[in-house]
């Protein structure tokens, strides 16, 4: 690295100091259309001198072309970056802008005011620490103000800055301001928003934005910028119990195995005990890796890799925790409906919470919340932008916390399995312990109905080949990839089945046949349940495999020959079986003293001499896609 000369070095140090010792304040602006949100942000950018010459030039020419403010800059044009927005003079989608002052850095999300774009406003709210709510001093608190404030409350935003805008148009009337403050404060209180600061402003004129307005001497509170620069929003994320939703298992050379994720809450140190949920297995933290290298302790917000002291089974979707999280299969939650397609009671959605995907059925809708009165109304469905409280039944246990305690562990989305649209944002209120409510609709549940629910074509991927050919390795990789893209699959591994289901069977021809028959029957049941079943079994006899094929529906049996030659299998000998067979310790071992009959017309042949296991897994996935199984 070239060392800076002292003059540059001094300047650089000053600039780095300006970077600040804390992360940027993330805030959003919301409020009804035309209340002046974009104008306010444009003014903040302009006054903090974040606009560069070419941007100012462009703003000037755009103001002439599209502007609504005569010869002045139309600051809204800085934010409304989409062509349609500029043409229609409205904000459609949330825009993110960055600016900094001497005291703090900011990321601001400008969110749309129109009701039809509420989902984009929710996008901004979900990551904001603070919200600036604008109201037009002439109009006061209107329906859209209430809707947005309600969403702020729902999303757990604890800091709200109410900017009563266009004070110039009400002659800077102190009483008008006071009346709006009273009405808004009572609304915020009902919604559980703790910290409300109210400022009278004129965004266009710059009053009380950066500098104190001379036109409202009766107001002695902070300006918008004073408040934004000094407000303390850091929550108690670090003091909470430790939570790490596992994102990714890092397995690399020489048996390294680390669990990667971003700490959702709390902190943990090397040596501390942790529990893996939902399995409940316990271990200790052996080492912690952060972006900066090894670390004795990590805390909420950090992306880390954990090494555990014990060899236990952990995968994506599991949660490492200290203290007990909720492990639930039934939940009560608030939902904000985001899809034009209304909620379908009794239908199943894909639910994504933390790093876990589960199937979720809305088993009951408790009520809908009326935006104006905040009353709870009876309802049978939720339409676009509706807020309601519902009960969800999950198809597998979910490790979570209530949203009030943790955005990261208590927020979720519901995805429509067919349209792939995000149907709802959800906030967990509590876990339900009784399986009291049945789904609303009873339907005849057939194989095809089950498959449709899973958005896949069930089948058996039958991996046949010699011992040591790589069947289990490849099947495992395929299993993980399918799981990672939300497919429902299950791996039946010949070796593992011999510990349980087939533990009473030996290796004689009859026992081998029985071993296969049982495995095939289990696979058949799973296909009937709509799963993609992966079977890794030597299955040496052609006739037996053909029997399995015949017992399944057309295209349901996919015969995959892992065609590693015997010499190579003997060379790899991962379990030492060949060595023992040749030594005479294993009788009837396939390839040594028992025949292997390769498939004559395999659906897929995997050449492990040319391709790696990863590449072979790619080929299987490509086959499944081409055959429209997934």
């Amino acid at each position: 690295m070239v060392q800076p000369d002292s003059a540059t070095g001094g300047q650089l140090d000053a600039l780095l100091r300006r970077q600040g010792s804390k992360p940027a304040l993330r805030f959003m602006t919301c409020g009804s259309v035309d209340d002046g949100k974009s104008t306010l942000i444009g003014r903040l950018l302009y006054d903090s001198q974040m606009l560069l010459d070419d941007q100012l030039q462009r703003l000037q020419s755009d103001s002439r072309a599209y502007g609504t403010t005569g010869d002045d800059f139309d600051f809204a044009l800085l934010l409304d970056g989409l062509q349609a927005e500029r043409e229609q003079g409205i904000t459609i989608d949330v825009a993110y802008r960055f600016f900094a002052t001497e005291r703090r850095r900011f990321i601001v999300a400008d969110t749309p005011g129109h009701e039809q774009y509420t989902r984009n406003m929710a996008t901004g709210a979900s990551t904001a620490d603070l919200a600036v709510v604008l109201v037009d001093a002439r109009k006061g608190v209107v329906t859209q103000t209430r809707r947005h404030t309600n969403i702020l409350g729902l999303f757990g935003i604890r800091h709200v800055l109410l900017a009563v805008n266009k004070m110039d148009l009400v002659a800077f009337d102190a009483e008008r301001f006071a009346a709006i403050v009273t009405e808004f404060s009572s609304l915020a209180r009902r919604l559980g928003i703790d910290h409300v600061t109210c400022v009278p402003v004129s965004a266009a004129g710059g009053d009380n934005i950066f500098s104190v307005s001379q036109r409202m001497p009766w107001y002695d509170g902070p300006t918008i910028m004073d408040h934004l620069e000094t407000v303390e929003v850091s929550g108690d994320r670090i003091d909470r119990p430790f939570r790490l939703p596992v994102q990714w298992v890092n397995r690399s050379h020489d048996g390294f195995r680390g669990y990667c994720g971003r700490v959702a809450g709390g902190s943990i140190a090397v040596g501390d005990p942790v529990t893996v949920y939902p399995s409940g297995q316990k271990s200790r933290v052996a080492a912690l890796l952060t972006a900066a290298g090894k670390s004795p302790r990590v805390q909420a917000g950090q992306s880390i890799t954990v090494l555990l002291a014990d060899e236990i089974d952990v995968g994506r979707g599991d949660v490492l925790a200290s203290g007990v999280p909720l492990v639930a299969t039934r939940l009560s939650a608030h939902l904000l409906w985001l899809d034009e397609q209304p909620m379908m009671p009794g239908s199943s959605y894909l639910m994504r919470c933390g790093t876990r995907d589960v199937g979720a059925t809305i088993s009951a809708l408790d009520h809908r919340i009326d935006i104006d009165s905040l009353e709870q109304l009876d309802a049978t469905t939720l339409a676009l932008n509706d807020i309601g409280c519902a009960q969800l039944s999950l198809d597998q246990p979910l490790v979570c916390d209530v949203y009030r305690d943790s955005r990261e562990m208590g927020g979720f989305i519901l995805i429509d399995r067919f349209s792939h649209r995000t149907a709802a944002a959800g906030m967990i209120d509590r876990a339900l312990r009784r399986a009291a409510d049945l789904p609303w609709q009873q339907i005849e549940i057939t194989k095809s109905v089950r498959a449709r629910l899973k958005a896949q074509r069930p089948c058996v991927l039958w991996f046949t080949g010699l011992s040591g050919a790589g069947k289990s390795t490849i099947a495992n990789l395929v299993d993980k990839r399918l799981f990672a893209v939300g497919r429902h699959c299950y791996l039946l591994d010949g070796d593992n089945l011999r510990h349980g289901l087939n533990h009473d069977l030996g290796f004689g021809d009859d026992d081998r046949r029985e071993n296969m028959r049982r495995t095939a029957e289990v696979a058949k049941l799973f296909v009937d349940a709509g799963l993609i079943v992966l079977v890794a079994l030597i299955s040496p006899f052609r006739r037996d495999r053909d029997m399995v094929r015949a017992s399944l529906g057309p295209d349901e049996f996919v015969e995959i020959h892992v065609a590693t030659p015997l010499t190579e299998c003997e060379r790899r000998d991962p379990k030492g079986h060949y060595r023992r067979a040749h030594a005479g310790d294993l009788a009837g071992f396939t390839g040594v003293d028992s025949p292997y009959e390769p498939p004559e017309k395999a659906d897929l042949v995997l050449d492990t001499m040319t391709f790696s296991a990863e590449q072979a897994a790619d080929q299987v996935i490509a086959f499944l896609r081409a055959g429209r199984y997934i």
Partner: protein, 333 residues
């Protein structure tokens, strides 16, 4: 399976298993600049690493779009951290238009060698045969050699997620784009119907042929990128640093004469000026700025006191404010 003891792994003597600077993919973590990294940058770093891991976990065949520029350098550095000490779970893809600065290609090949990562270089061969001169026809060149080429590469390799280094502070339509940005089977972006993006939860479901563009640096600014490069000592193409280079003045921009293919227009003369580049692309379309900033600290100081935005040096973005949105709708990155 043989697993070594995690407690041994944590000890500094455990050789290749040690969570140290040296990974399976070469030495990517150079000596730090000495200055402590700020909490602000740490936060951005943690967020980007989280996003990169989500891509690896949620897609069947992701790829990292490596354009050789400073943002790509940061992206690659973050990816190496995200999967350390393992290998990158995706390859790099460079869409080569045939008109990149020679120093960029040399830098690319050197980085790939040093890090031991997989690189796919894609060139639109049919497009190459059209022999489009970027100086004469910049829009067509970009469309054929960049946009079309990218679509081809994604199609040919079956990538379902392409990770890019775009930032929201770069340009107005990017300020509106999601971190996980959906593309139709025709690679189109539909800005009016973006999926809501709530908390850290991304709707990554795709139908056949559809794909996702993912921007882990969305929340970084140009200043953040430079600070991070400085503090982490990340290698960058020397073109970012000022040096005497042969340039011609053309349409108010300084264009470097990188090879003999640049045809001089009447009245143009090549002269040597001390210049550097704020962004890197095809050399006939990338304007240089006059500068004497020959070290990173000088660049940072100059950048932060500059009065023009970085994309100004891109001839292709200039025509009208919404031109990037239009290009993105058509499949430009």
């Amino acid at each position: 399976m043989v697993e070594s003891q995690p407690l041994e792994i944590a000890s500094p003597e455990a050789g290749a298993n040690t969570p140290s600077c040296r990974s399976a993919q070469g030495d990517w973590r150079h000596a730090a600049s000495g200055a402590p990294i700020t909490a602000h940058l740490r936060h951005l770093e943690d967020e980007s690493i989280f996003l990169l891991r989500e891509v690896a976990a949620l897609f069947a065949k992701p790829v990292l779009l490596y354009s050789i520029g400073k943002d790509s350098s940061v992206l690659l550095h973050l990816a190496m951290k995200a999967f350390h000490p393992g290998r990158l779970p995706f390859p790099l893809l460079h869409v080569d238009t045939g008109w990149k600065f020679r120093e960029m290609i040399a830098f690319r090949d050197q980085r790939v060698r040093e890090l031991g990562v997989d690189l796919i270089v894609h060139v639109n061969r049919e497009g190459m045969n059209l022999q489009i001169d970027p100086s004469l026809n910049p829009a067509l060149h970009t469309d054929v050699m960049k946009t079309e080429a990218l679509k081809q590469a994604i199609g040919v390799h079956g990538f379902d997620a392409a990770i890019g280094g775009a930032r929201r502070d770069e340009e107005m339509s990017r300020a509106k784009e999601r971190i996980f940005s959906h593309r139709s089977a025709l690679h189109r972006w539909d800005p009016r119907h973006q999926r809501p993006e709530l908390w850290n939860l991304f709707n990554t479901l795709l139908s056949p042929g559809e794909s996702m563009r993912v921007f882990p640096l969305s929340n970084w600014t140009e200043a953040d990128v430079w600070h991070y490069i400085y503090l982490e000592n990340i290698p960058i193409v020397p073109l970012y640093l000022a040096a005497e280079r042969p340039v011609v003045e053309r349409d108010g921009q300084l264009i470097m004469v990188d090879d003999e293919r640049l045809t001089l227009r009447p009245g143009e003369t090549v002269c040597r000026r001390s210049v550097r580049f704020r962004t890197l692309g095809c050399y006939p379309l990338t304007g240089a700025v006059l500068s004497s900033a020959a070290s990173l600290p000088e660049i940072i100081v100059e950048t932060l006191s500059s009065r023009s935005s970085e994309r100004r040096g891109r001839l292709i973005d200039g025509e009208k404010s919404a031109s990037m949105e239009k290009k993105k709708e058509e499949g430009y990155f």
